[in-house]
Symmetry: C2
Subunit: 576 residues, 2 copies
């Protein structure tokens, strides 16, 4: 039995475009001799469609598109394609299609409603498992979250004798999640003595990147094949269902448990004469990227897809000579092509000479266009305009922010005039503690590295230089002390702990939801921890107004971490 895992890049809402892409893939696959071809979860609507699912016209169009797709599936091949079924209520579904007909509509059982997921908002939970019977082999099909439950429909299917468990997914990326997923799937395969085939979505959708990384696992739990990360791919796997039987005979754990009696059997026929006969097949195992490369590729794909899927082509960003705008520019040049990126130097009276030199060197290394617009005239004008209102008061953060907002205004003016999208360049550490200016450096259409902690920003830049074997990010950017340069002799460490102390505190508080006491107990200075926690809490209102950016950690701001702005929960107070 030959199965194709079609890891395609769908677009939310682009119902007809998604179907066209699936049909194109199908034609390739059929000629490769596949019996089954699997597409990612919600193939037809894209994932996640969010509140489009509350629109009757959208649901209807998706159902029509399924019919159109089904009409293109020849006899002898089964396609597993994700769609939204309307059967009294709405279901996240997988259609099994063959010979122009929908053989079965499977309704996802387990609806994730945590982290970035809101599936209980839209769907009813499905009931009843089924297996596909083909040439005497039983294939269990499930959708994404279903396989994350040890007691879910995949178990039912395995107990009923399925030798192959196929799962269509839209599992979003976060750091090292692919490894975690492979491990889980390996355990499912060996627990049940089944092949496990996992077909994941690839592509960027707003804050999320789906990393592809589809895999096939053998009944012993060993990796059989792995598709590319962060790219469209078609993974062909050759299965021998009798392998599953051999494992079943040697590891009879499934025998001790009874399958549910209501399991439905859906028959499908494979007709080999219509396709190239299968040949002995060398399985492809793509290498895994190192962590820095993985995050970098996620950023590139996320940014590229945001532009492509929204019809944008050119980007503009401020280049300060610092590490954050440097990495953002590198990502942009890679994602959009250097010819589509303009860097703008926006020097003020506080900008060091080194900053300008570094920014120019970076632009040269990347081959991107550069402009320089000094912000002094506007700064002078604002001071004049505010002279009356600010009379007798010392300079403070107000004047610092004015400079940052002038930069935001200039970049937005270029955006409005030329149709370029402004990229904002703040990292997660800054975003966490509010070390940024609303409508200033945070202004833009997309915040490229907003979920990348500062220490990881450094690691990724070094990784890029190593990988390219030359200096892309200038060495002086990597070694100089970080500064916002909004007043004389300013340093980030004037108001923040050093980043190698800050980042672990932030990770404990934000990603792990630990309290002050616990963080201090793990070895951090109490004063530092309290200060950081206060800053994080107080910056929530800022985070609500910044552009979206790509989730790369286990807990990104946005749809992943949903904190109230109005929130009086602080340290524990004495009792009444």
């Amino acid at each position: 039995m030959r199965v194709a895992l079609a890891q395609i890049n769908t677009t939310v809402g682009d119902i007809w475009g998604n179907v066209e892409k699936a049909v194109d893939t199908l034609e390739n696959v059929v000629s490769s001799g596949a019996d089954i071809v699997a597409f990612p979860e919600l193939t037809i609507t894209g994932y996640p469609p969010e509140d489009l699912l509350l629109r009757p016209d959208f649901i209807e169009d998706n159902l029509k598109a399924l019919e159109e797709f089904a009409a293109r599936v020849p006899e002898g091949v089964v396609a597993a394609v994700g769609f939204v079924d309307l059967a009294g209520d709405l279901y996240n579904s997988c259609a099994l299609v063959s010979g122009g007909r929908v053989l079965h509509r499977y309704h996802k059982h387990y609806l994730p409603n945590y982290g970035v997921f809101d599936e209980n908002r839209y769907f009813r939970e499905g009931e009843g498992a089924f297996v596909l019977r083909t040439d005497g082999a039983l294939v269990g099909v499930s959708v994404c979250e279903d396989i994350w439950y040890p007691g879910g429909p995949a178990r039912e299917q395995a107990l009923a004798g399925a030798g192959v468990l196929l799962n269509i997914s839209a599992s979003p990326y976060s750091r090292q999640k692919g490894v975690f997923r492979e491990r889980m799937l390996g355990v499912r395969a060996s627990d049940y003595g089944c092949y496990v085939l996992f077909c994941n979505l690839v592509g960027g959708q707003d804050e999320l990147v789906f990393d592809g990384h589809s895999v096939a696992i053998d009944p012993g739990g060993r990796l059989l094949a792995r598709a590319k990360q962060f790219q469209e791919d078609l993974l062909l796997v050759e299965l021998h269902p009798e392998e599953a039987l051999i494992h079943r005979l040697h590891d009879p754990r499934p025998r001790k448990e009874s399958p549910s009696k209501s399991l439905q059997i859906v028959d499908a026929e494979f007709r080999r004469e219509d396709s190239t006969p299968p040949e002995p097949y060398e399985h492809r195992i793509e290498p895994l990227l190192p962590e820095e490369g993985e995050v970098f590729d996620a950023l590139v794909l996320g940014l590229r897809d945001y532009f492509r899927k929204n019809g944008f082509s050119r980007a503009v960003l401020g280049l300060s000579g610092g590490i954050d705008s440097s990495l953002s520019a590198v990502v942009a040049a890679r994602a959009l092509g250097p010819e589509n990126v303009t860097g703008v130097l926006l020097p003020s009276r506080y900008t060091s000479k080194g900053s300008n030199t570094d920014a120019l060197a970076l632009a040269k290394n990347l081959g991107i266009d550069v402009q320089e617009i000094a912000i002094e005239p506007a700064f002078g004008a604002y001071r004049e305009m505010l002279e009356g209102a600010f009379k007798g008061l010392p300079e403070d953060v107000a004047e610092e922010n004015i400079q940052s907002r002038i930069r935001g205004n200039v970049l937005m003016a270029l955006s409005n005039k030329f149709g370029w999208i402004v990229l904002s360049t703040g990292n997660k550490s800054e975003m966490s503690v509010g070390y940024s200016t609303l409508y200033g450096d945070s202004a833009g259409g997309f915040a490229v590295i907003k979920d990348v902690p500062k220490t990881l920003v450094y690691r990724i830049c070094r990784h890029i230089n190593e990988r390219e074997g030359r200096e892309i990010v200038p060495d002086s950017v990597l070694t100089k002390e970080p500064s916002a340069e909004l007043r004389a002799d300013q340093r980030d460490t004037d108001s923040l702990p050093p980043y190698d102390v800050l980042d672990p505190i932030l990770e404990a508080y934000i990603e792990e939801d630990k309290g002050v006491g616990e963080i201090v107990a793990s070895g951090y200075d109490e004063e530092d921890v309290r200060r950081v926690v206060r800053l994080v809490d107080a910056a929530e209102y800022k985070r609500r107004q910044v552009p979206i950016g790509i989730k790369v950690t286990s807990r990104a701001f946005g749809r992943d971490r949903r904190m109230p702005i109005t929130n009086r929960y602080r340290e524990r107070r004495p009792k009444l």
Copy 2:
């Protein structure tokens, strides 16, 4: 039996403050002779606590606070108080407390996960109904969503003979929802032949306003008592459980159905000797506000609580002489006191004389402070700075937006210097079609009228003038044609249909999720509808970066309408 519905204004996260408030209320209530006192849903944590519920320290503190609260409840009185129970898993719960002990912990059965609600993200569904037995009467207690289900725990309790159904709620406000709620509760009461007592939260929490409006309904479905809308209140009701029996004997519908056998009975004793004996009681029925007054009061409460609960006191906003900034200023003056509001006139070369006069008249009517800062110097500076980049190109929206962003920058500078919070003043119609400048007029900490459609803005302003019996919003503001004044002779209708056409189209598309075809069929010009729908879709990225503001319609942007930015769903395309 005397029951007190304690409609208090809790604060999210302020665990100890909420308990103090409940204890203070309890002391008043006991002296009034109440047997039962009910507090709103999640009294202790505030509602909705969002991802604070993922923090173990927060859950623990809430449990400690429940113990502290319980210690203050005397013998002979039962308090129903909302908290988060941790019993293997997390539950949205109501504790029945008496004589220093928790008699029972009820776990909410039905978790809303639609609209603004995300309760499946945090809680497990409760199981098993119970009734409180007191002096021979049975009282069923449930939490919020439970009573919205005709077949939920309230039905179980009624079938088991409960004559009183008490529901503690956090039901957020939207236009006319209070009337809808009263009708539903009236039908529950008459369906079951029970008293229905509904105790709702009051207060603002970020985007949400809880409107109070607690009610008591008699077993015939008639309104017995109604608490104030948008204010803290304590509603005392005197019940005669034998009334319920009389209704039960005359309308024996509940007799035809069997209660579940597992219903738990929790005994509680009322000791009248500890409290003032009940007297014949005249029930209070607060009048309902007219729609315009209701929305206005929601805005005032929402803004006031956002400031108070976040520790802010003063606001600043730009006064353009238009109707939106006028209404925003009226709300601010009412919510914060005129002495805490500064209006800033920010005239440009395009500002008409009438605009300045109108803005000054409004400020005078309200008694708020006024400043004037002309934006020409900065506009000139930007033009000079951008001369090279813009060489040879005609003026367009870029220059318009620069002006708007200068205003945003000036207001933010005042905010940074003086600690004032900037109020942005865009209405829902503008927010829908993207007729605003990001980081310009949309800049601020709170967007007062962002969910108020333009036609309703007019109605509310007229209502205020009528109610006050004098001109608060100057008449010329109400009658002149709306304009952004960002170029010569600009009018809103240059780029938008008139508001009395635009608003119904927006309501159909945004609040009702109707498609183009359906909207056209209801009598609108197809060209208009297509254009409006395109504008709404294209403005999603802007709406993600604007400040929060108060939900007053059935579908507000924000946590209520969650659309992807990347969304290629447009009009229906021909089939493949």
